[in-house]
């Protein structure tokens, strides 16, 4: 019975059938592949894409995505003035070579992988990305560890923080590394799929059921089985089964007598006391998960999941949505593109920066987020850029850059370190904001904070080191508005903005400094700073 089901499941649940022969050749650049597939799909739906953005918007968007902050006036002006036709590629490569790129990627990955509010994985991810580890190696480090070299204690926190609840660990692993939320499938009506879910859920759980937390590390025994009851009440032994339905043959579990168990326990206790990792058993179930998830006929879940998640990070909407619902009843919007990206990512050692570089160099990336046509096409057409709420750190950095007197950033030799210092110094602001998810809504607490908080009033006041201080010294209102808009929004002001802000200022001739501070407040709290557009 079980065997028959798993066979059926393997056919049913392969996330999209791979027809490699139809895909664009592997040597195509990522950006060309993206544009090819996105545009041909738009053509089938008669969808008109939004215009390409100008240099100002492109510079800001790229800077936020790759460096985690908005540009300074000097940076954006230099980029716009640059006549080099290769300037976009050069900007991308320059930003990706800086530590901020790695730091932001590690921060975002930690927000995806660690339980809410935990930052345990971040330092590991910075190190792994700096060492140019592929996503497959990071996956292995986080699930199994590394018994050859030094045990990555921090990486093991993925498992260690969840291991007291193995169902949760099973779901998290499945959802975050394979894009499949197996707990959710309980609600599907399809009888075959619901049967499949139970066998697979306990199959996936079996990879973890022998593991436990042993202090800072995760240890594993060589025995321990899972039994479960089907909906019809049948008692079954769980097999070591991956999501694809592939089952791993394993040796008989080790049998220990009471004496052996006592000694084993004492050994684990000693290792825990010594803060040392326990050796893996000769047959480690967690090691088997790494093996099977990455092998040729089973790696599609792994490779598509990371391609989809990186796509989502850059474009603000996944090729499969929700990100953890990668199953046949919920096909990708662009199956060939996802196949191509997954193949490309695998073929290039799961190199995440390389993938990101391709994604940000496409024309799809540089479409405007503003759609002036009659009816804005739904997100999955990728016919206009999605506005993305800034991450807490991006928002803190954006506020930090915008609030300073722009003169502070002008000296080219000092600018880089000054920016880095200021962004780090103001990072505490990130704690005031929520990490955005797909259904993210800004809370009224945030609006109240900006409206009535003394620390924020300090950022917008008119003083020498603040934006307001410089604005107060400018001769004309026009110059002031231009400078303010460029500092906060990284672009020139429109005539309507000049008019509205001038009127606000004129009505407050008796309290010009207050008015300037209020204008800075209005600019900095507006959505244009809060979002990456």
């Amino acid at each position: 019975m079980l065997k028959k089901l798993s066979l059926l499941a393997a056919v049913l649940l392969c996330p999209g059938i791979n027809h490699a022969q139809d895909l664009l050749p592997p040597e195509t650049s990522i950006q060309d592949a993206v544009d090819h597939y996105i545009k041909s799909e738009q053509a089938t739906g008669n969808i008109q894409p939004a215009a390409q953005v100008d240099d100002y918007v492109l510079m800001r968007r790229t800077m936020l995505d790759l460096a985690g902050r908005i540009p300074t006036i000097a940076e954006v002006e230099a980029y716009v003035a640059d006549e080099d036709p290769q300037k976009r590629v050069k900007l991308v490569d320059r930003l990706m070579a800086q530590p901020e790129f790695t730091e932001q990627l590690a921060y975002d990955l930690n927000n995806i992988l660690a339980p809410a509010g935990k930052t345990d994985l971040e330092l590991y991810l910075v190190d792994a990305l700096t060492a140019q580890k592929g996503w497959d190696t990071m996956f292995a480090d986080m699930i199994y560890g590394n018994y050859e070299e030094e045990m990555p204690k921090q990486a093991m926190q993925f498992v260690n923080l969840r291991i007291s609840d193995i169902d949760n660990l099973t779901n998290a692993t499945s959802a975050l590394f394979f894009g499949v939320n197996i707990s959710c499938a309980k609600c599907h009506d399809h009888p075959l799929v619901s049967e499949w879910t139970q066998a697979h859920f306990y199959g996936m759980k079996s990879f973890f059921n022998r593991s436990f937390s042993n202090g800072d590390f995760v240890a594993e025994r060589a025995y321990g089985e899972i039994k479960y009851a089907t909906t019809s009440g049948e008692q079954l032994d769980a097999q070591l089964m991956f999501l694809t339905g592939s089952v791993i043959e394993e040796p008989e579990p080790v049998v220990l007598d009471d004496e052996g168990k006592k000694k084993e326990k004492a050994d684990f206790e000693q290792l825990k006391k010594d803060k040392k990792p326990a050796p893996a058993p000769a047959f480690s179930r967690r090691a088997q998960l790494i093996e099977i998830a990455l092998r040729e006929n089973d790696r599609e879940y792994f490779s598509k999941n990371i391609a989809n998640r990186m796509w989502h990070r850059i474009y603000g909407y996944g090729l499969v949505m929700p990100l953890d619902q990668m199953h046949p009843e919920n096909p990708p919007s662009h199956p060939d593109l996802l196949d191509w990206l997954a193949r490309d990512t695998y073929a290039n050692g799961y190199n995440l920066p390389r993938l990101i570089r391709g994604l940000v160099l496409s024309q799809t990336y540089s479409q405007s987020s503003r759609y002036d046509g009659e009816k804005r096409p739904a997100e999955f057409w990728f016919a206009a850029a999605n506005v993305k709420p800034l991450s807490p750190r991006q928002y803190a950095a954006a506020l930090a850059i915008a609030a300073r007197n722009p003169a502070h950033w002008e000296d080219a030799s000092e600018a880089e370190s000054r920016i880095a210092n200021e962004v780090k110094a103001q990072r505490g602001w990130a704690n005031k904001f929520a990490v955005p998810n797909d259904e993210f809504q800004v809370s009224v607490d945030e609006a109240l904070l900006f409206s009535n908080d003394t620390a924020f009033e300090d950022k917008i006041k008119v003083s020498n080191d603040r934006l307001g201080g410089e604005l107060a010294k400018l001769e004309t209102t026009e110059a002031m508005v231009q400078r303010a808009i460029k500092a906060v929004y990284s672009r020139p002001a429109t005539p309507e903005e000049v008019q509205a802000i001038s009127a606000y200022l004129d009505a407050r001739n008796d309290r010009r400094e207050d008015a300037i501070s209020q204008i800075v407040w209005a600019l900095m709290t507006s959505s244009e700073l809060r979002f990456n557009h």
Partner: protein, 423 residues
Amino acid sequence: MSVNPSRRRFLGGAAAAGIAASSMNMDVLKAEALSNELKKNGKRVLLLWLAGGASQLETWDPKPGRLTGGPYQAIQTSLPGVQISELMPKMATRLHNTAIIRSLNTQIGDHGGGARLMHLGRRDEPNLKYPDMGSVLARELGRPDLQVPDYVSFYTATEGRGNAVGQPGFLGARYAPMFLTTDNKPAHLSRLEDITDLDHKERADLRALLSNRFAKGRVSESLGSHNVAYGRVRGLMSSEKLFDLSDEPQKIKDRYGNSLFAQQAMVARRLVEAGTPFVKVARAWWDSHGQNFETHLELVTELDHVMSTLLEDLEERGLLEDTLVVTLAEFGRTPTINASLGRDHFARAWSASLTGCGIQGGTVFGATDEDGQHVKDNEIGAAELFATIYKAVGIDPHHEYFVGSRPIPLVDPGTHAVDEVLA
């Protein structure tokens, strides 16, 4: 065509509906009986949260004369045949609006897990964040144009942030609680002194002008929520006076008394009076592993006084018929008395009370055995209690939200309200 056409239609529709309707809010399209809408209009819930776990034996379900009963007696209430602890003489005289539930079996006996269960009404699921009772009620009973906060949560120092559950989950931050963490007034509700009220208002208008220009031609729920949040600021600030008891008549203040719990109950009454659909007031220090009887002498006496005063106050103002007052905790306490004369965590057989809106007053539902060790009759869990609370204020407990295409009923499928305590 590579995309499932039904998905395309679904998403297209959601996008067309624009910033107001999120994909999970599609249930607004589901026709709902008008009578239901009218029924829940203006209803509110006030939760008295007994953080740490109050003893059912020293409150609603005494076991006088038994080994588990402890030193306190039971007293006859105004209801024939119904006795409660002698520590609640005031409530004993006014149970005519109250239903006592004596048959909760909620199974989770640690503070964190129990508190989550009794705020969410269900167990956590790893990849779906459920809204808590307050967020559901804010969503169901609040109005979009409400000028007062729709979910206010007092939390006390001992309860700790971790156990002070208040999460909008998949409903989104619009329904997040306004937490009162340090005093009886929310942070950032008052205007700073160095800006005039007029400038405060007009800079917000300038912001709205700039922000709305930016939003033109762009569609996103998050973007919409940003401007909605700022749009609520001035209204919420005008509710600041609700948190300020200085204009409350001395006569009323004297009735409530001076304890922090009493003051918070008074603020809660002001909030529900102004239309806030959900307020949670927490009273801590119930976790009496040692000296249970001294602790309960003090705390139950206070609860008895504050609760009866609050109910009286609400009734006099004609608010009680639209306000449901709930006493609840993460669990009860063991009938067995431990060596430190304490009672430990106990989720197997404990009590809660429901008073006011939608409740059949003067009822007792369920019973425990003679030592209080097990539920004898009419056992219910968290889901049934939540279904009862929702139904009492006119909300269909089987109403469904949609997360993506997945239907999520307000309470776990297969559970029903306790109609015996409903009016």
